[in-house]
């Protein structure tokens, strides 16, 4: 049975789209037929992160009745399938939501996992993306505004009957000014399923239009996302250790008996 998982956050700019894109690629590399649907029509960045911008037929065209969903599915990096959002926010606002549901029904038939990148906030589009899913991953940074908005999103999702898989803490820093994992779990009353460190490699990969899990699989963020993907489907993942010159140097020194 196809799993429909929405990745939502509440607050914008917490890295939700980056995580969705990379998680989609990760799941795809595990052999899961994965479709990533960019429902964030206001900030359609998924295409940019995956280097798939400028597609002629998008979700917007499908919801407008001007194209079929099959025409809007594109093959992305790592074999992940992607439905880009397009750019028209107004167009989507005027479209009936039951049409989106029809689109989702079609996508569900064609995939093992359908990942929906929900828009930030709790406007109609965001709610539609949440309501369309059976499960939800809540993304937050360890900051108060982000946690506060995530809490609202979680409560709404509960009300809509969506099962929340857990919280992904993005851009985690070892800084006492931020909330701890335990505090976040306590406030949100949802388990933390992944902690993704603050990583400059993410911005670098986005600039190249390449998902990080492919561009730099050894980075801590890539490892965390691959682990998250593995956990979602119950697979084992062996983290790829980064090259540490210092460690190697130490090892050589140790072998040579210098200490």
């Amino acid at each position: 049975m196809t799993r429909v998982i929405t990745v939502a956050s509440g607050k914008g700019g917490v890295g939700k789209t980056t995580i969705t894109a990379n998680l989609g690629v990760a799941l795809s590399t595990y052999g899961e037929e994965t479709i990533v649907l960019d429902a964030d029509v206001a900030m359609a960045n998924l295409e940019l992160i995956l280097g798939m911008e400028g597609k002629s037929i998008t979700l917007h065209d499908v919801l407008s009745g001007e194209a079929s969903i099959d025409e809007a599915i594109y093959e992305g990096p790592g074999g992940v399938k992607v439905v880009p959002a397009g750019i028209s926010l107004e167009g989507l606002r005027k479209i009936k939501l039951d049409r989106l549901e029809e689109v989702l029904e079609k996508l569900v038939e064609e995939s093992d996992i359908l990942l929906i990148d929900a828009p930030a906030g709790l406007e109609k589009d965001a709610l539609a993306a949440i309501a369309a899913a059976q499960e939800m991953i809540l993304v937050t940074t360890p900051e108060v505004p982000s946690i506060s908005d995530a809490l609202k999103t979680k409560i709404i999702a509960n009300k809509l009957g969506v099962d929340i898989i857990g919280v992904v803490i993005n851009r985690e820093q070892h800084d006492k000014t931020f909330l701890t994992i335990e505090e976040i779990e306590t406030i949100l009353e949802v388990p933390v399923i992944s902690v993704i460190p603050d990583d400059p490699e993410v911005s670098r990969a986005a600039a190249f239009g390449e998902p990080l899990v492919i561009k730099n699989p050894k980075s801590p963020t890539s490892n965390a996302i691959m682990q998250l993907g593995a956990d979602l489907i119950g697979q084992e993942y062996q983290p790829i250790e980064p090259d540490k010159k210092g460690v190697i140097a130490k090892l050589i020194e140790g072998l040579l008996g210098r200490r």
Partner: protein
């Protein structure tokens, strides 16, 4: 401490750098900035202004305690040491926001560091770690501690001879204040000798436990080592070992009152530790919410949000309701126009296209007029009435689709006046 983390000017492992030398270099260079020490999941900071250590923190420890903890962390080879440079003015700002971590102006950090360095200079190569521990304390450099050291030195005098005490006296003069000397008990030796056989084992255990628990005593070690080195520098190996024994006896046999104080301090530390643990326990959710100013969403807010979710989506039932509602409102407003005898209003919404659209058809029966008035200005009245009706319809549509103003452009309005 609240410190901005930038790019470090130096990064090294503890086994690759001599920490005390690093501190001295920073002093010589009149360094402005800070050192971050990362040992496992624990972090410590020492802030420098013009090479002077002005503040320190290590997890829950601050000031001199933090320095002692940082020094202990250096024993771990994997401890990472990072040196960060800052502008002098920025150091002032950081000092201002980290007042709880500021060192006391008279705190002799460098003295302590020098003492820590002494064992490395031990010419005789004695395993300084085998020197028994002196009384552990939470504040490594305190008046009480200094008093103990002075006491030990006095005890050494008759055994080691006058020459041997010279370095010790130098140490005393640099460390002990007049006030501390006043605190010096006269009958220390006798009491120690009496207490030693009974309390030695227990005390040793307590001390070891305490040291293990709080990972302190390094500075005391260094102090004892300092005494030891002073002894050995002028005596032979045999005498030195004797001196070691004496120092260990002294450090292992505090007075009864001190023993009680130690026990008390252990109890205090335990109770402090318990309260600390309580603080570290995950707080209650409501407390956390209050702490971070996060408000719970009430049921009404959730319903409001979900209502807005429904707002853009129209089912067929919704369409019929809207049509009926609009018809009634427009009709009611038209009947407010003088001389309107009757009005038929029909609203048809089209929800199948890309955007919501609609038609509004209105037929108005106007009060009949006399022949003359008809000839003079009937057509003007009709135009005026048509404009009035159009305005009414537009107002009602705008009110009805307030959140979606563009929808209004998709309506076609026709008015017939009979």
């Amino acid at each position: 401490m609240e410190i901005p983390i930038t790019r470090p000017s130096m990064v090294s492992y503890a086994d690759e750098v001599n920490f005390s030398e690093l501190i001295e270099n920073l002093l010589k260079k009149r360094h402005n900035g800070f050192i971050r020490v990362t040992s496992g999941s624990e972090e410590g900071y020492i802030l420098f202004k013009e090479g002077q250590q002005v503040a320190a923190s290590y997890e829950r420890y601050s000031k001199s305690d933090a320095v002692a903890m940082i020094d202990s962390a250096m024993e771990n080879d994997d401890t990472v040491i990072e040196v960060f440079d800052l502008r002098s003015s920025y150091v002032d700002y950081i000092m201002d926001v980290n007042k709880p971590y500021l060192m006391e102006p008279d705190y002799d950090v460098y003295g302590v560091i020098k003492e820590l360095r002494k064992p490395e200079d031990n010419e005789l190569g004695i395993d300084v770690k085998s020197v028994p521990q002196t009384e552990p304390q939470t504040e490594p450099v305190t008046g009480t501690e200094k008093t103990e050291t002075v006491t030990g030195a006095e005890d050494n005098e008759p055994i080691l001879g006058e020459q041997e005490t010279e370095p010790q006296e130098e140490f005393e003069s640099s460390k002990a204040t007049e006030e501390e000397e006043e605190l010096l008990p006269e009958s220390v030796v006798g009491e120690e000798e009496e207490l030693l056989p009974e309390s030695e084992t227990e005390e040793k255990l307590d001390l070891e436990d305490l040291k293990e628990k709080f990972d302190i005593g390094t500075i005391d070690d260094a102090r004892a080592e300092f005494d030891l080195k002073a002894d050995k520098s002028s005596k032979g190996t045999e005498e030195s070992s004797k001196g070691t024994k004496i120092v260990s006896e002294i450090s292992e046999s505090p007075k009864e009152s001190e023993t009680k104080t130690t026990e008390q301090s252990i109890q205090d530390e335990e109770s402090f530790d318990e309260s600390e643990k309580q603080e570290l326990k995950p707080a209650d959710r409501s407390e956390l919410m209050e702490k971070y100013g996060i408000k719970e969403i009430n049921e009404d807010d959730v319903d409001d949000i979900l209502e807005s979710y429904k707002g853009g989506s129209l089912s067929d039932d919704d369409v019929e309701k809207i049509e009926l509602n609009l018809m009634n409102k427009i009709k009611k407003s038209i009947y407010g126009i003088p001389k309107v005898k009757g009005a038929e209003v029909m609203v048809f919404l089209d929800n199948n296209g890309r955007e919501l659209a609609g038609n509004v058809n209105i037929i108005i029966e106007y009060e009949s007029k006399g022949f003359l008035s008809r000839l003079l200005g009937d057509y003007k009245d009709n135009d005026h009435l048509r404009r009035q009706v159009m305005n009414i319809v537009q107002i009602e549509l705008k009110k009805g689709f307030r959140k979606y103003p563009k929808v209004f452009d998709n309506f076609d309005i026709k008015v017939e006046i009979g």
